[in-house]
């Protein structure tokens, strides 16, 4: 290693002799840093998305490698957000890759003290049975004045403002057909 090369490893030398006298740019960069490539630059795919937090609707670019989200950044194309994200939006990679996110169905039987495992298909089947039974048991054809009701008051729902429109649409459609009316979400909470 020649003296010049050796000296070049020294940031102060680069700062004093180079074009970055304040040491806030090129002078402070190590060789290791120069050799690094951001994972956003090498991502397999960039998928267009929208921030899932508040209702401003900032554009997101979702970077994907090998079937995994590797980074989420603001989309500069968006006329709403112009590439910016707030602390929550900027943390959304942690939201989707959180190690504490549940991956399995959990079941707590009546009066139980622990969670139990349950197969997703079995869970769906049990829930369908609960809906059918509760609906039958609590069905109202008419009220005490003889007015037409055609409903169940045994089934309630809360949630929707964090979901997609398509999801809310199927939810409202299914419940209405089932005669369930106590459907609510964050819009008035």
């Amino acid at each position: 290693m020649g003296l010049k090369t050796w000296l070049d490893h020294w940031p102060v030398y680069r700062q004093l002799t180079g074009t970055d006298p304040l040491g806030r740019g090129a002078a402070s960069k190590s060789r290791r840093r120069a050799e690094l490539t951001p994972r956003t630059a090498t991502a397999e795919r960039v998928v267009k998305s929208v921030c899932p937090y508040c209702a401003v609707g900032c554009g997101q670019n979702v970077y994907v490698d090998d079937g995994t989200v590797t980074q989420i950044e603001g989309d500069p194309d968006s006329p709403i957000s112009r590439g910016r994200l707030c602390p929550k939006g900027a943390a959304s990679e942690q939201l989707v890759n959180s190690p504490t996110r549940e991956t399995k169905v959990r079941y707590r039987r009546p009066y139980g003290t622990e969670w139990e495992d349950l197969d997703l298909d079995t869970a769906l089947d049990m829930i369908a049975d609960r809906v059918i039974q509760t609906r039958r048991r609590t069905w109202q054809d008419t009220d005490e004045h003889g007015r037409y009701l055609n409903r169940t008051m045994g089934i309630s729902h809360l949630g929707g403002a964090t979901l997609d429109n398509e999801e809310n649409y199927l939810i409202k459609k299914l419940y209405t057909a089932l005669g369930a009316i106590q459907i609510e979400n964050q819009a008035r909470i």
């Binding site: 169905v105 369908a128 609510e184």
Partner: protein, 877 residues
């Protein structure tokens, strides 16, 4: 706004850079205040007095935009002589029934319109149902169902365009607001007179032909027992100043969830069907025709409601919906009153509701009086929770505070709980509707792992399975389920239903299955199917318009080719009002849409919100229907009379005009009237939901809840993330140095905040950002309580919403979570049964012993504008 919608706030800063004055009205000094030209602290819960003061200032000094007001609002309409104002009746309007605590709105009608107003009071019970049913129905959130247009009034009321008639709306407004003087504002809001007048000058100076002022608000305005009337007050002010339907104007709601607007448009709400079509109410025998007639009126675009309703029924029941069976109108379940979430929770506690789905929401720590929620959860037969993380609503049987106090025992809770992990936004296709009504498609990036699924998957397959299980049923009650259109293409290993196919159904098709271009093509003869009429055309030409992403830098400032706005891709609604009655822009600087005489059509920067070829001088034929009854100057096309309503002759449950009332729990009496609180507010009397009595020294401080930049609502999407938990690691309360001295609170130490519901502990942040205010003859201290916490996740703490009572606005059933009263003492809260003893002691001191039924009868805004002042305020939902 800078705190809770920081990326949106960049546009406020852009406006400021271009000369706009930015005023921040908020009890707290926040990041918004730091960047505003002025911060105006006021007492939480007093905004109607503040805005009413501005209205009075405009009217007293005749600073209204007279041509706009006369032509585009109902200022000239004459009101029935039976109408009596709160000025006449000490805080009540005419028509109030003390026994049922409800209004009969007949006397609020336009002159000569009383009969129609009665028939037109939405789909309410007919007289045969009796008074009890009428009272019950008053809780049905009827005020909200006018979401797509005002409720019906007869086509054109009598008018006095000189605005001199003593019973014209303009003169009624003048009398109504005459006592909202700067002195009164100072006494009620705690805003010094000089500071109030500075705001009044800024707002009026920045409005008119060449300038507009915008008001920006969040749930700091809506979460009150008078929440709807807060917005009404802002609407009156903005209409008087000519700031609606124009660029840089408006009253802009900053909503708090990615698709909270969408879940209102396609409502997972009890009282609405998609597109703000009301859910039908119970009657002996009501036809679709009668349902439409009672709601739609005959004039204005809402006069086409039958086409919207029939197209919805066709989307849901397809070939089974025919003219002969009233398009399956009988399949819709019927309402009989308040079926909102707080009523439902009380019914869960009472054992009337057995099953509960909670999807992406966390009521066990996020709703007012969270204990009520947990008592409801503990009394269900079955509960389904779908979320990303293991939230408190799923774990209440393991760690509800009531387990520690001994009020609940895990082994005695019979609720069967299913927790199903949900897919995140990057693991599914779909649209969010943002706060400016923009539908934006997000693409699936990766497959969800393990048992994680989209909610689209869950509901599609749940419905499929229920239909399979009922397939052989001959019970007529099962026909709506079995005949439902429920065939969606699926894809992938998980049989994920196609969100694209669902969006096509929402957007609508003609009889041949071709995509519809827009809602004006909807028909009432069953030849079109459309899942949500206001979204009609979002899949026009077979193209997913919501997925359009032409870069903002490559198109005009309106950016019409980025995603899709409802209705008809309009970015500013009622934009006909951006032109004068002759169709010319009010000024070149504020040109937006205008009448092109040569082309014979409306044109401009945006899709005109008017019939494209209807000229400004058009006069309708007598007896014309729907939009054909609107003149060329009737800019507010959804209203039956084509006018924006300064005064609301029908449709609201608590009065035709906003009036200052104190919050349910307030340290002071109502300075203006004997009537202390909104007389029609919705109270839930329940032992676990006690209301604090008025006055007294037991709960001397005002507290207000809010969000932090680094957390999101009840914490399910933020308290579990390391970055955000590191940025805001702990529950805290904000107090002024004066209050800290009065209560011996130490910065960084612990405080216990007490209400009649419970007590919570928080770290103390002593800060001059909280400022004591002089209100009437006393000093009012305010306490800031961010509400994000609970026992689960990385960052844990007590839930601020434990403190709140459940008491609601009667129109939309939103709870009063922005202004209540409390006590604050140093130190941590007691543990176990001692906690209950502390709260019981407070109740006794407040004179509440032996009875929890102590309801007494008795905000702000972040804002911004392009040219002018505007306010804004803390966010919540």
């Amino acid at each position: 706004m800078a705190e809770c919608h920081p990326v949106g706030f960049q546009w406020v800063m852009e406006a400021k850079r271009r000369g706009a004055t930015v005023i921040h009205v908020d009890p707290r000094f926040t990041r918004t205040s730091a960047l505003a030209d002025a911060h105006v602290p006021l007492r939480a819960g007093s905004d109607i007095a503040f805005l009413g003061g501005l209205i009075n200032y405009v009217l007293t000094n005749e600073l209204d935009f007279r041509e706009y007001v006369v032509e585009y609002t109902n200022a000239a309409a004459i009101v029935d002589q039976e109408f009596q104002d709160t000025e006449d009746l000490d805080g009540l309007f005419s028509g109030f029934d003390q026994e049922s605590m409800t209004y009969n709105p007949l006397s609020w009608a336009y002159e000569g319109a009383r009969a129609t107003a009665a028939a037109g009071h939405r789909d309410m019970p007919k007289p045969e149902a009796g008074a009890a049913a009428a009272e019950e129905e008053a809780g049905a959130g009827a005020g909200e169902e006018a979401g797509s247009g005002g409720p019906p009034v007869p086509g054109k009321p009598e008018r006095d365009p000189t605005l001199q008639h003593p019973r014209c709306v303009y003169q009624i407004l003048k009398r109504h607001f005459s006592r909202y003087t700067p002195d009164v504002v100072e006494q009620i809001c705690g805003v010094p007179k000089d500071q109030f007048l500075q705001v009044a000058h800024a707002v009026t100076r920045s409005s008119g032909r060449d300038k507009t002022t915008a008001w920006v608000y969040s749930v700091g305005w809506t979460q009150h027992t008078v929440g709807v009337q807060y917005i009404r007050t802002a609407a009156i002010l903005q209409l008087l100043l000519g700031n609606i339907g124009r660029p840089g104007g408006g009253i802009l709601a900053l909503r708090g969830h990615a698709s909270i607007q969408g879940s209102t448009d396609i409502p997972t709400l009890f009282n609405l069907l998609p597109g703000y079509i009301p859910m039908p109410h119970a009657h002996h025998d009501e036809t679709l025709e009668e349902f439409v007639e009672s709601d739609a009126g005959s004039t204005g675009f809402w006069g086409n409601m039958r086409a919207y309703a029939v197209s919805l029924l066709k989307a849901w029941w397809g070939p089974h919906a025919t003219e002969d069976n009233d398009y399956c109108f009988g399949y819709l379940p019927r309402l009989t009153g308040d079926h909102g979430t707080y009523r439902t929770v009380l019914d869960q506690i009472a054992g009337k509701v057995q099953g509960y789905f909670v999807i992406g929401e966390n009521p066990a720590v996020g709703s007012s009086n969270a204990k009520l929620q947990r008592l409801g959860l503990a009394n269900l037969e079955w509960l389904v929770v779908r979320d990303l993380q293991m939230i408190e609503t799923a774990t209440f049987w393991q760690n509800a505070p009531e387990l520690e106090t001994g009020e609940l025992e895990t082994e005695r809770i019979g609720t069967e709980v299913f927790f199903l992990p949900a897919a995140s936004h990057t693991e599914k296709d779909g649209t969010f509707t943002n706060t400016q009504r923009l539908l934006q498609w997000h693409h699936k990036a990766v497959e969800p792992a393990g048992d994680r699924r989209s909610d689209l998957w869950f509901y599609y397959h749940l419905g499929r399975r229920i239909r399979q299980k009922l397939a052989t049923s001959t019970d007529p009650r099962d026909r709506p389920v079995l005949e439902l259109t429920w065939q969606y293409p699926t894809e992938g290993d998980h049989d994920e239903p196609s969100a694209d196919a669902v969006l096509r159904e929402i957007s609508g098709v003609d009889a041949d299955g071709n995509p519809l271009p827009g809602y004006t093509q909807l028909s009432d003869d069953g030849s079109t199917a459309c899942g949500c009429w206001i979204y009609c055309g979002c899949y026009a030409d077979g193209v997913n318009q919501t997925a359009r992403r032409k870069p903002g830098s490559e198109q005009s400032w309106v950016a019409p080719e980025w995603a899709w706005a409802w209705p008809d891709n309009r970015r500013i609604i009622y934009n006909r009002a951006s032109a004068d009655p002759d169709g010319r822009p009010w000024s070149e600087r504020k040109a937006y849409v205008w009448w092109d005489r040569e082309q014979g059509r409306w044109t401009g920067h945006d899709t005109p919100d008017f019939e494209a070829t209807k000229p400004p001088d058009f006069e309708p034929e007598p007896g014309a229907h729907a939009q054909h009854a609107l003149a060329g100057t009737d800019a507010f096309i959804m209203q039956t009379d084509g006018k924006a309503w300064l005064y609301v002759p029908t449709g609201l449950l608590d009065g035709p005009l906003p009036t200052h009332y104190e919050p349910e729990e307030s340290p002071v009496d109502n300075l203006l009237y004997g009537q202390r609180a909104n007389p029609a507010r919705r109270l839930y009397r329940h032992p676990a939901n006690p209301y604090q009595p008025r006055g007294g020294d037991t709960f001397p401080y005002v507290f207000t809840t809010y969000r932090l930049t680094e957390h999101h609502t009840a914490g399910g999407m933020s308290r579990f993330l390391p970055y955000l938990s590191e940025l805001q690691p702990e529950f805290f309360c904000e107090v002024s140095p004066e209050l800290a001295a009065e209560r011996d609170l130490e910065h960084g130490g612990w405080a216990t905040i007490v209400t009649a519901r419970t007590a919570v502990e928080a770290r103390v942040l002593v800060t001059e950002r909280m400022r004591p205010l002089r209100v009437q003859d006393r000093v009012v201290h305010q306490v800031g309580v961010p509400y994000h916490w609970g026992p689960n996740g990385i960052s844990t703490g007590d839930a601020g919403n434990e403190l709140l009572p459940a008491v609601l606005d009667p129109n939309v059933n939103i709870q009063e979570s922005k202004a209540s009263t409390c006590d604050v003492v140093p130190g941590r809260r007691p543990r176990g049964p001692d906690l209950q003893r502390l709260v019981a002691d407070y109740r006794t001191r407040a004179g509440m012993s032996g009875s929890t039924d102590t309801a007494t009868n008795g905000a702000t805004t972040d804002s911004t504008t392009t040219d002018g002042a505007v306010m804004n305020r803390r966010t919540g939902a």
